[in-house]
Symmetry: C2
Subunit: 690 residues, 2 copies
């Protein structure tokens, strides 16, 4: 829901009403209803007080809480109304009072989609009567009047009831009426049976609703937990200076599967523009067999729904989709809303592009970067709705081809209201579809995109290296409100980012960043080459030397020095470990050494803990004291507990919280300990060789 509108821009004179209560009261008076007496507020979970939907994963439990109270001393009752995804009916679930006027209801999120909930509360007249009557009784006062009131409430309940409910109440009323003894009547009306019978036909005549209802986007597990592997499909082959095909990609699947990845992310696979095509190393003049940038989308042979003929055909793509699925992976596709100058849209929809004073169209820029081979669509033009629709059609096209994850390029340069619309539209059609926001921009905009519906978000992880930086950043990401809408995906590297830490830190640096990404965040990814410790950059930049972005590349996937065993171990541990599949359980612990980060993830039931002590400095051996979070692990100071270490496979018994450890980054830069309350015999998910 947008917080701002530029509909028919008003003069400041016309903004809003003077007193919001007045029109409401006029409406109430006109309707013949009574003004509300119950207050419902501070409803949680909610993002920005309900402006945006909160996000959850299917299978999660959702605790809905609210402050609910009314004036006076009458008792109230409250219910959570839930509209499960894809239905129009609402289900009522009783809420329970906590303390201090806080109420709660818990539901299990059983299916994906957009769930809505509202809270309803009403005065519980029978319970109020019973409470007041009990005081009169205790005080030894005459019950006659009190009983007569109870009898009136009973009559009212009968009038609301039908069928068995009604019969039951009529029997009670008969029992009441056939005696005139106050003691007998008191016993009868105070009985739990009567309370239960009346509770079946509650008087909700003064009920109030929290307004408007709140929404929960319930997504599938991959929105929170997944390991991504990013490739240029054209560079997955073995022949130099020419494009690989989708079938070459299929040939790569067993190796990628063996590494343990869940998502195979393809950079754009569409025809590449020929006008202003980029040459090797981002040169502005392409030569004959330069393939150009995959992000310069579209040429004479098609645009966003076409396939680069060099990669194959739509049939080849379909084979890849199926093969990936057979290898336990799914494809993620790039959605880059931009065009090469020879994209068909420029001919077919010239109104979508803004002309400069000389009639030309400005190429894209992100100073100091220039994209001479790309022009942007213009969202600020009268025909915006057809542009929006065209982009939606692109997404629907690929959904029909089996793609359910879209990594969106530079969403922060398009209106957030567009993403709100697009994601809501798409997820209404298919709630299994996920969107990942590739926005490296100012924090407020990154958060706004997440609030707008992106399932996952790129982060600043790549540039957080020191202990202080990492703790501060993770603290921000694990803020309760932020976790409600922002799900991080930690890439160790991307085609645009070879961090200087990796350029200079050697193999140990790659292993350190791998451990951090894979254990700090339930969703993480690498861009291919990372497993080979590829570290050659354009000097003074974070760009890869001879970047795949502008040329074909043939990789030697078994190049000496690779860290594939580490990746395999970590991905295997991640899949086996419920503790690593969530973010909210991350806790940092004391490690005396400034270069050692020590943290844990523990399951809520304490059945499993993963403890990671990692050096952030790729070189010297470090010795440090660390302090285990024994209380959080459900352990006392005086019992032994056993862990298995990921890299060495070592089983070790510990006792007490404080221990001295030694980390030699040339051997293993981290100690990744798994503790299980009930370890399984022969558990192969930690330790050992892959």
């Amino acid at each position: 829901m947008p917080t701002a509108s530029r509909l028919d821009p008003p003069g400041p004179q016309s903004i809003g009403a003077v007193d919001p209560t007045a029109p409401l009261l006029a409406e109430i008076a006109a309707s013949g209803a009574l003004p509300p007496r119950i207050v419902i507020e501070q409803v949680r979970p909610a993002v920005d007080g309900g402006r945006f939907a909160v996000k959850r994963i299917v299978g999660d439990e959702l605790d809905v809480e609210a402050d609910i109270f009314r004036d006076g001393s009458d008792q109230i009752a409250a219910a959570l109304l839930v509209q499960i995804p894809g239905t129009v009916e609402w289900t009522r679930i009783a809420m329970q009072p906590l303390d201090n006027d806080r109420w709660i209801a818990r539901i299990r999120l059983g299916q994906i989609g957009r769930l809505r909930f509202a809270i309803e509360a009403w005065t519980d007249r029978f319970a109020s009567w019973r409470g007041a009557a009990a005081k009169t009784f205790k005080a030894g006062q005459t019950m006659t009047m009190v009983l007569a009131q109870g009898r009136e409430l009973l009559a009212a309940a009968i009038s609301r009831a039908v069928g068995d409910d009604r019969e039951r109440l009529l029997v009670i009323a008969e029992g009441y009426d056939k005696t005139s003894d106050d003691a007998a009547r008191t016993d009868l009306l105070f009985s739990d049976g009567v309370a239960a019978a009346v509770a079946l036909v509650p008087d909700r005549s003064d009920r109030v609703f929290q307004d408007p209802p709140l929404a929960v986007i319930v997504e599938r597990e991959a929105a929170r937990f997944a390991a991504w592997y990013e490739i240029f499909p054209r560079s997955q082959g073995t022949l130099p200076r020419r494009s690989a095909s989708f079938d070459d990609c299929i040939g790569r699947l067993p190796a990628i599967q063996a590494l343990g990845f869940d998502v195979l992310y393809l950079v754009p696979i569409h025809p590449i523009g020929t006008m202003n095509r980029k040459g090797r190393d981002n040169s502005v003049n392409a030569v004959a067999d330069d393939p150009g940038s995959s992000y310069a989308i579209g040429n004479r042979s098609g645009g966003h729904t076409a396939i680069d003929p060099e990669l194959g055909t739509i049939d080849g793509f379909r084979r890849l989709v199926c093969a990936a699925r057979e290898h336990g992976m799914e494809l993620a596709m790039d959605l880059a809303v931009q065009c090469a100058p020879d994209h068909p849209w420029l001919q077919d929809h010239p109104q979508w592009f803004r002309r400069q004073p000389d009639g030309s169209i400005k190429f894209a820029e992100n100073p100091p970067k220039k994209y001479e081979d790309i022009v942007n669509v213009d969202f600020d033009q009268a025909d915006w709705m057809s542009l929006w629709q065209a982009i939606k059609d692109v997404v629907l096209f690929w959904i029909a081809e089996g793609v359910k994850i879209f990594r969106v390029d530079n969403p922060h340069t398009k209106p957030v209201i567009f993403w709100q619309w697009l994601i809501a539209e798409i997820q209404r059609a298919d709630p299994a579809v996920l969107f990942l926001a590739e926005a490296f921009t100012r924090p407020k905009m990154m958060n706004q995109l997440a609030k707008s519906g992106f399932s996952q978000s790129y982060t600043y992880f790549t540039w957080r290296n020191t202990k202080r930086e990492l703790i501060d950043y993770m603290t921000e990401l694990t803020d309760v409100e932020m976790m409600g809408y922002f799900r991080p995906l930690f890439f160790t590297n991307t085609p645009d980012i070879l961090p200087s830490y990796l350029q200079t830190g050697g193999r140990a640096a790659f292993r350190i960043r791998l451990v951090l990404a894979a254990t700090l965040s339930p969703a993480y990814g690498i861009y291919n080459g990372f497993e080979l410790c590829e570290a050659e950059a354009v000097p003074g930049t974070e760009e890869y030397a001879h970047s795949e972005k502008y040329q074909y590349k043939v990789w030697d996937w078994d190049r000496p020095g690779h860290i594939k065993a580490d990746i395999t171990r970590l991905n295997r541990l991640r899949r086996a470990s419920p503790a690593l599949q969530r973010l909210d359980n991350l806790r940092f612990h004391e490690a005396a050494h400034d270069d050692v980060l020590f943290y844990s993830k523990i399951t809520p039931d304490r059945d499993e803990a993963v403890l990671v002590a990692v050096t952030l400095a790729p070189r010297p051996v470090v010795r440090t004291e660390i302090v285990f979070p024994l209380a959080a692990m459900g352990l006392s100071d005086d019992v032994d507990f056993e862990t298995v270490e990921l890299f060495t496979g070592e089983r070790r018994r510990w006792r007490g919280a404080r221990h001295l450890i030694v980390i030699d980054p040339e051997v293993n830069p981290a100690m990744v300990l798994r503790y299980q309350k009930r370890p399984m015999a022969g558990d192969s998910t930690t330790g050992g060789t892959p």
Copy 2:
């Protein structure tokens, strides 16, 4: 604004819309406008995200902040739109960027009433052009195209301008057009003069508004800072067993003025019911000359707009209003929405009262308290609007008689939406009117009443005695969001509450509670008798023995053991001390002893500080180290500073933070130190005898 409505209670099937974006977009498309690109959110100050108005005092500065940003790299501008109380025009004030997309504007609140504000933001196209053009220039690239775009923006500015603004821009355009030299044109368009000329006619065509506007209730100083003195007017005289008159009250004014009070609060002054009238000590059978409870309002001679004949006439009341004003005080009146059984409303508006099954009307109860002499009006009946109106008319009646402060009895037993309506209605008619909520109930309801518009609120102060209790409670009350709507008024005692601490603690206990109330809270009050250390209670209760509530009383205002000198000193200090006139500057500091509370209030400019070390135990002498907040006072460790102590008048020089002090509660239970950066010569507001 109510958070819940019971208008035409919908079935749960009918709640809300499926996707809030969709209808908005349909509306935008229909209007021919473009979708918004700017986001405005996290606007502060706001109570519950803007559901309720925030409160301020006239003369305060209001800092309005918001997150404002847009997609892409264009620059934006933002303005705060302000509608000052009582006007319909909106004033535009430029907002300034802070860091991280946060913007701010500051306004001075110059008059009381309900101010509204909204935020407006738009893309600053000329600044965006200038920023991008500068990059092109720096890169040494050709400026021709860039200049042509600048010239287009200039033409657009001309088309928006009139008069001098237009002339100025036309001269610039002429200068541009008469040269064809890019360098000259660049110099011209980049000049600050051009930027300033264009800024006078900004292009706000894509502006967005935060929606809806937020409100600030700006009230007069007395809403934050005042010392109250509560009396039963009928017991201000000298003759036993008969009522004093308003003229007796007038006779008391010089003494009350000498004590330094600002507000003289009268319990209800209306005719008292004769049916079920209470006798002495709350007995259910009044005898002939028992006056009854002032809260059993109304009899044959009139109701809430009438005056108890024993106190005098409306003329007598008018004399009291004027005399109080002449003595530098104003009257506060009790608003108790309840009736004696012989109140005229029962005859004239029988529909406002709920009948029991036997046709009788239930008397009021607040278990275990019973009020046989009082019946409550029923807010849940079809004729509610006439009841609301009647209560409003009561308030308007007394406003016309010069009363501007209403202390509302038990507001938590009436619908909060009623108070929202009443206070908004009354303050629209007269924004100087203040309401004090006497609600001792659950915290959420107390807060809700404050959000609903009550200027001030009773608190739990009376029952917070230990160091931990006081620090915790003050921490809660000084929470930034809570201070935005909840203003505490600390009563040391009330006709209903003689705290056990005062019953058992002797004179020192009264002095301790006086110091706490008068220095912790800018608004505080005592109920008469407190200054005489009246401590006799009904055993086992917090009720006064032989309470004034049920009988005439003659007080000896000079009774030995009184603490009038302390009250006078404290009220004089409060009036002289800007530091004590606010709540947000309260800070607690280290005092080693568990019974010693040490705190400060310091003005933002650090010109003045009041430091209070008070023992919370009325008996033993305590020795403790205290730690001065030197940094907050703007002092360093190695300079001397001088304080004046309130009770002893002692001037003392200190150096450094840590000092050992001794407090003997039999002499003075507190050390109240005033520090002034520039003490005035012969300042008599601290120390000395009154």
